[in-house]
């Protein structure tokens, strides 16, 4: 696979149902209301010059390259910040626009090192592309004026370097840290010509709140924020789509390669779990890929006392298959089985169970998730018919109230946590049930509506108390119950849950949480139009 960049539409997709028809450079285009002119043009295949816009971030309007002319309107509005309107007639290329864009690029380059040939972003630089696009041939201001060419590079981060002399102050890194990752580690300090990217309050990247998720590096259009591996090895030549092998979120990555060597791991926009985002592990901690201790060839030994012996795949598979068959002949068909891992991809897990069912001819397939998650797996299976969660990742974008119990996503599943935090910043509320004061209880721009710091081991009492409050205060969704629940079983459950032992006042002491706090949280959850529960090993990995 050649190195193909994800298409960049400049501004995020509009999810509006209403469609708008307009004309861009003589071509009709129909797009959802709320779409920017820039995105609509890209849909037609027309690339309007841009530097500060990228479709993973909200429009910003600072670079002033994407100016267009709209018939009947004064001036030259920016196409990234101007939403389409019905019947609009837009021109993206006119003499006036060409002159303005060249004028803006001339200003940019008057404060930029002219070291393209030796620059780590050579061939992968949007500033370089734009200089070409607008046909910049001369910088009449000269290069003797005030500039940032001597700004000091910050190499503190082990994975990427920050070279402010190449910065065009487009704020893409700052916005990525805010909007995508939600850490708010970066800002622009000072104003005017002195504006510059600052990690924390003029800290080094390493000393700042930065968590090295790499969103800023990915957002940077120049060589300002650059992976150290690219600085060392140069720009990759092909990429292979893969799935991150760390946590269970399952982020899609493009492994950007040179030959068989990984140069960098870039999160793919097409990944449904991560939508172009990553965490420090998937993004940077892939040294294992080519680690010398990695086992790359099959090995066999006859007994535990023998040393390992490298063998061919053919021999290894033959040996194993033969042994399995012998065991089955001796002890019966069900004598063997397989265990898969939650770290494996769905596809890999599918193949393993297929092997067990088709080749082993039994159902002895298990997964580590069944062990860790057996309580909830059992419960979900009994109540909803499947032991899996009922929501996909994107649904968090619609949640109004989130009940988080026994999970610490910012630490354990950071990419999903970023998506959850984004929703919280949009106004959704979160109830955190956890003995610990985890980040989602309170961190920049996040404040939980309630933190139920229950004593360890009291999750069941808490859930029952929640249910008790919901039943006692008649907050039950009867429509759902009547349509979907087994009447008798539900009546049984009602009788149980109404018991005094499940009341908040009764369990308050057990939980170490006041009854009124429980009631408020339960009401918040039950009254939400779209409430969602997210749980983790904190509730399931108990015996």
């Amino acid at each position: 696979m050649s190195l193909e960049k994800d298409l960049d539409y400049g501004t995020p997709e509009s999810l509006c149902q209403e469609l708008i028809s307009l004309e861009i450079d003589g071509h009709q285009v129909v797009v959802p209301e709320g779409t920017s002119i820039m995105r609509a043009a890209k849909q037609l295949g027309t690339s309007i010059p841009k530097l500060c816009a990228t479709d993973s971030l909200e429009a910003f309007g600072s670079c002033r390259l994407c100016l267009v002319e709209i018939e009947g309107r004064r001036g030259t509005p920016a196409s990234c910040t101007t939403p389409v309107e019905a019947g609009m007639i837009v021109h993206t290329q006119t003499q006036k626009l060409a002159k303005l864009r060249k004028g803006v690029m001339e200003l940019y380059i008057s404060d930029h090192p002219l070291d393209c040939l030796t620059c780590s972003a050579n061939g992968d630089c949007e500033l370089q592309d734009m200089a070409g696009t607008v046909g910049l041939r001369d910088v009449r201001y000269g290069y003797q004026g005030d500039n940032h060419l001597n700004a000091t590079r910050d190499n503190s981060n082990p994975y990427f370097s920050f070279d402010p002399s190449k910065c065009i102050v487009c704020s893409r890194c700052v916005r990525a840290c805010d909007e995508v990752q939600g850490t708010f580690a970066l800002t622009i300090s000072k104003r005017g010509f002195e504006s510059h990217v600052s990690a924390g309050i003029e800290d080094s990247f390493l000393d700042s709140e930065c968590v090295s998720c790499g969103a800023c590096v990915q957002a940077c259009p120049t060589a300002t924020l650059m992976e150290k591996t690219v600085i060392e090895h140069g720009v990759p030549e092909h990429s292979i789509e893969t799935t991150c092998a760390y946590c269970g979120v399952g982020c899609t990555f493009n492994a950007e390669m040179k030959g068989d060597q990984v140069v960098r791991m870039v999160p793919a926009k097409s990944g449904k779990a991560n939508e172009g985002h990553a965490c420090v592990k998937g993004r940077f901690a892939w040294g294992y890929a080519s680690h010398k201790e990695r086992i790359l060839k099959p090995m066999l030994r006859s007994s535990i006392d023998d040393p390992w012996r490298e063998v061919s795949w053919e021999e290894a598979i033959q040996f194993t298959a033969k042994k399995f068959r012998e065991l089955q002949q001796e002890y019966g068909r069900k004598a063997i089985g397989g265990i898969s891992s939650s770290r494996a991809t769905n596809e890999e897990v599918f193949v393993v169970q297929k092997l067990v069912r088709a080749a082993f001819e039994n159902n002895n397939i298990d997964t580590c998730a069944r062990v860790c998650h057996s309580p909830t797996g059992f419960g979900l299976n009994k109540t909803l018919g499947t032991s899996a969660g009922t929501q996909d990742f994107i649904s968090v974008e619609s949640a109004d109230v989130i009940l988080l119990i026994g999970a610490n996503p910012t630490d354990a599943h950071p990419v999903f946590a970023s998506r959850m935090k984004k929703r919280l910043r949009e106004g959704a509320q979160i109830i955190v049930v956890d003995p610990r004061r985890i980040d989602l209880v309170e961190s920049p721009h996040i404040k939980a509506a309630a933190h139920l710091a229950i004593l360890p081991g009291t999750n069941v009492a808490l859930i029952n108390a929640f249910a008790h409050i919901i039943v006692e205060e008649d907050l039950v969704d009867w429509d759902y119950v009547n349509h979907r629940c087994d009447k008798d079983l539900f009546e049984n459950w009602l009788a149980f849950i109404k018991r005094e032992q499940n009341s908040p006042s009764y369990v308050a002491k057990v939980l170490g949480v006041e009854a009124e706090t429980l009631r408020k949280a339960a009401r918040l959850y039950a009254r939400a139009e779209r409430a969602a529960i997210y749980y983790g090993l904190g509730v399931t990995a108990h015996s």
Binding site: G61, L100, L107, S110, G145, D146, I168, S195
Partner: protein, 523 residues
């Protein structure tokens, strides 16, 4: 007991009014005379400050400008009984500076004890509010629309249309934001109004709140106005205690309260979107439009952002009617405007007049010529982003349309006069430098362009020959075009206005050749 009025106002403070008061009290005590010193605002005649006034048989007599060393002689002249003295100015209303004005917005400013609600009411205060409380939102907005009131902060957008937009917006909360981040050099009308008649602003904000359905107002006050802050804080406390702020104001169904917010100390925070960012606690950086603040303003809610003078003009309009106000002014520039005279003038200060006098008339009638006594060289109108006017341009009438047609703008009403010794190229350079110092840094044309602008103008100065100079003039014009058309907000977009006009004047003076500068939108 004679009442003595001495302003509690920043200019007067800087001229030693507090020392003056100590001297008067000391002298009166020594002479065994009972006096009462009341603190009014300044009437805006900065050249007469400290202006001491006495209430003499119901008439206000003025002495000024007074210094502490003259107090003894004033007592000796029996000024408390209108005694003759070289500083005696006679009855205030007879002084031509005041007599020639049409003070609608500033009618009480300097006249009343500034923090007295009783005095405020005695002089027509809260009548606009009473009228508003009896009117529907629609009626109030119609009155503002009919009055022709336009934003006095600089953009001159019709206030009624802005209010209408906010009133029509569907939202759970709305806000009134008063832009009191008065940063234009040569302007001080907001400060004078807030220090001298703060209830007028408060009243205007309450009316705006009633009109659009907002229950919270914010005053974003320039951090460089510490005295104004103290005065506003006192005024808000008193207004709240008197039931003009808070819940069910004046026993009506309306709730409205005002919060005072001190600015971040940046010129750019006077731009409304930057102001909103700053008010939200963020870096004062421009937001793109649309969405308009009227629809998505403070915390994303529909917000009226009006200048101090716009809001302070509302009470008189509600009290006396749209027609009364619209009868002042001309064309589409209706009502009055507080112009602020400064720079190289004999008499600096604020004059509130109807739109329509020419620039020259205002300078001649009020400013009394230049301070240096030389001929007028040029006049910069509308703050640091306004154009330099010279020669026959001085006959441009002071109204929005005429100034726009002449390639300038009235802005916030600042008039800064220069004599004919001014170095225009330096003024052009200064305009670029101002932009570079005050740019928020968000957009490229303003952030980098202003710095290059300073450099190019410096090179024009140092060019060794005509062709080199001419090259730099061309580059400057290209830069001005980029800044004007490509900048995100008016900061970078309007900087070419003073630059081009000053450069043109410079060229006329030094080279007498127009060929080096391509035609601009200058008349």
């Amino acid at each position: 007991m004679t009442k003595i009025y001495l302003p509690r106002e920043t200019t007067t403070l800087s001229l030693g009014v507090e020392e003056l008061i100590s001297a008067i009290e000391h002298e009166a005590a020594a002479r065994g005379i009972a006096i009462q010193i009341l603190r009014n605002g300044s009437r805006g005649a900065a050249w007469l400050e400290p202006l001491l006034e006495i209430d003499f048989n119901g008439k206000r007599l003025g002495y000024g400008p007074v210094t502490a060393s003259q107090i003894q002689s004033l007592f000796e002249a029996d000024f408390l009984n209108a005694g003759e003295h070289e500083l005696k100015l006679g009855e205030i209303s007879d002084i031509p500076w005041f007599k020639q004005q049409q003070r609608l917005t500033f009618s009480r400013c300097g006249e009343i004890e500034s923090l007295s609600i009783d005095e405020y009411k005695k002089h027509g205060g809260f009548r606009g509010l009473s009228a508003a409380l009896k009117s529907s939102s629609k009626d109030i907005i119609n009155i503002i629309l009919d009055s022709g009131l336009r934003g006095r902060g600089g953009a001159a957008f019709p206030a009624g249309i802005k209010w209408q937009t906010v009133a029509d917006a569907d939202a759970d909360s709305k806000y009134i934001v008063c832009n009191a981040d008065e940063g234009d050099s040569g302007t001080f009308s907001d400060r004078l109004l807030m220090e001298g008649d703060s209830y007028c602003l408060i009243e205007g904000m309450i009316i705006a709140g009633i009109a659009v359905g907002a229950e919270h107002g914010f005053i974003y006050l320039r951090s460089e106005y510490p005295l104004t802050k103290i005065i506003l804080e006192e005024a808000l406390i008193k207004a709240r205690a008197a039931g003009y702020l808070g819940n069910t104001i004046q026993d009506s169904i309306h709730n409205f309260d005002i919060h005072l917010h001190i600015g971040a100390g940046a010129y750019i925070c006077g731009e409304e979107t930057s102001l909103l960012e700053s008010l939200e606690g963020k870096r004062g950086q421009i937001r793109f439009k649309p969405p308009l603040p009227a629809l998505k303003g403070l915390h994303g809610k529909p917000t009226v952002v009006n200048n101090v003078i716009t809001l302070a003009s509302v009470p008189v309009i509600l009290a006396k009617g749209a027609e009364y106000y619209a009868n002042f002014g001309r064309g589409k520039s209706l009502g009055t405007m507080p112009f602020q005279l400064s720079g190289n003038v004999k008499h600096g200060g604020l004059v509130e007049i109807s739109f329509g006098l020419t620039l020259r008339e205002v300078i001649e009638n009020f400013a009394g010529g230049t301070y240096t006594g030389k001929a007028i060289g040029a006049v910069q109108v509308g703050g640091p982003l306004g154009a330099y006017f010279s020669g026959k341009q001085l006959d441009t009438p002071l109204d929005y349309e005429s100034f726009s047609a002449a390639g300038g703008m009235l802005g916030h009403g600042g008039i800064v006069v220069f004599d004919d010794g001014v170095d225009y190229l330096e003024q052009a350079r200064f305009a670029m430098e101002f932009c570079s110092v005050e740019s928020c840094g968000k957009c490229t044309p303003c952030r980098i362009g202003s710095v290059r602008g300073v450099e190019v103008i410096t090179r024009i100065r140092t060019a060794e020959n005509q062709s080199e100079r001419s090259e730099q003039y061309d580059l400057l014009e290209d830069l001005c075009e980029t800044m004007e058309d490509a900048s995100l907000c008016a900061m970078g977009g309007l900087t070419p206005m003073p630059v081009r006009s000053a450069v043109k004047l410079h060229q006329l003076l030094t080279e007498r050749t127009d060929e080096t500068m391509r035609p601009t939108n200058e008349s």
